[in-house]
């Protein structure tokens, strides 16, 4: 087939309209969400004292941080699904959750505490946190990568890493409602390690499956 013939063939297929990447990504994530939810409710579940916990601003802050991470990472990876896109001008989105966390830590530092810093940082649930967040995020990560394959990212590893951040953000939102460690120091330590793990997995798989 010479190039003119190929061009003629492509022109004949011009009527075909693909769905936007955002649509496919959202659909895939919505399809994967029940899997993560099922895993969460069968293995972990919401903590029993959730009604009282909600009055604790540091409990609420966990959701602000994890949701900010999920939303900004989804925004950035949708941006990166276009071939000419770079992180420039979009990278700062990822600092929003970090900023919230830093603000939370400073807030907690200024308040009188019953427990010493190291006790709050180490907490009681670090092992569960490091297992639950990556496991809960796997179905979402698979969905995010599937959705992004519909795009054309020029930086597959970076796009995959951001997809990892997004799915870890969502998984951490679920996990936060189970975990009884509410100190921002705990979140900054263990949630971050768990998220970094998922990000690395995302980058690794992304560099293979997001090439177009």
């Amino acid at each position: 087939m010479d190039t003119d013939q190929l061009i003629k063939t492509l022109a004949a297929d011009n009527a075909h309209r693909a769905r936007p990447v955002s649509f496919v990504l959202m659909l895939a994530m919505l399809a994967a969400a029940p899997v993560s939810l099922l895993m969460f409710f069968t293995e972990l579940g919401v903590r029993p004292d959730v009604m009282t916990a909600m009055r604790n601003p540091f409990f609420d802050l966990k959701f602000a941080v994890t949701l900010a991470l999920a939303i900004s990472a989804i925004t950035v990876c949708l941006h990166l699904s276009r071939p000419e896109a770079s992180l420039r001008g979009f990278g700062w989105y990822l600092f929003i959750p970090a900023g919230l966390l830093v603000a939370g830590i400073s807030g907690e530092m200024m308040m009188p505490q019953r427990m010493p810093v190291m006790t709050r940082l180490v907490g009681n649930n670090s092992k569960v946190c490091l297992t639950a967040i990556p496991l809960l995020s796997l179905p979402l990560l698979a969905a995010a990568l599937f959705g992004l394959r519909h795009g054309a990212s020029a930086r597959p590893a970076v796009a995959g890493a951001i997809a990892g951040l997004a799915s870890a953000g969502l998984a951490a939102t679920l996990y936060a409602s189970h975990c009884t460690d509410d100190s921002p120091l705990f979140v900054a330590t263990w949630y971050t390690i768990a998220t970094a793990l998922v990000t690395a997995i995302g980058a690794l798989i992304g560099s293979r499956v997001l090439r177009f």
Binding site: M1, D13, A18
Partner: protein, 181 residues
């Protein structure tokens, strides 16, 4: 050059709103620019430049299948060159070399530049043979025999819708096979 790129953007907008002829013109217009850039990339990687046609076809397929990632409010050329650069690096890497490709390779190409002799492309044609029979027949009918969708439908006793589906799937699996090889 600015004028040329504005023209491309206009053609692509018309193509997306359903103008097949505009799309055909656009692809015809960008092919020589892609060819020249592919030859330069191959030359710099120390590879035979007469393989450029395979790369051009690879880029054109990617442009076609990923055109929904182009933002119709943005200029077309940067998007095209990003796709082309990606595909060029990919092909060079597959050929065993890793090389830096400058985006200016594409932008600097003059419209009138006609490259010298180029070997016919073989990769797409070879992968075509590996497609499911229905997709291959439809693609061959439209590409080689220049049949319209209507004529192809009549020839294979298919509906026009089924021809369109086979055509698009055929192009998508061709691209997937090229990527895997």
């Amino acid at each position: 050059m600015r004028e040329r790129e504005d023209e491309w953007t206009g053609l692509m907008r018309s193509a997306i709103s359903g103008d097949d002829a505009a799309y055909h013109r656009l692809l015809k217009a960008v092919a020589p620019v892609l060819r020249a850039a592919a030859r330069r990339g191959l030359a710099r990687a120390g590879q035979p430049v007469d393989q450029s046609e395979d790369i051009v076809q690879d880029i054109l397929l990617a442009v076609h299948l990923k055109r929904h990632t182009w933002d119709a409010n943005a200029p077309f050329a940067p998007w095209l060159f990003a796709i082309a650069r990606n595909k060029l690096i990919d092909s060079l890497r597959r050929r065993g070399r890793r090389i830096f490709v400058d985006i200016d390779d594409f932008a600097e190409t003059l419209a009138g530049e006609t490259p010298a002799e180029t070997a016919p492309a073989g990769e797409v044609a070879a992968q075509l043979q590996a497609l499911p029979a229905r997709q291959r027949d439809v693609l061959q009918s439209i590409a080689v025999e220049s049949a319209s969708i209507k004529d192809t439908a009549r020839k294979f006793s298919m509906s026009e819708g089924a021809v369109r589906v086979a055509l698009h799937r055929g192009l998508a699996s061709l691209t997937a096979k090229l990527r895997e090889q």
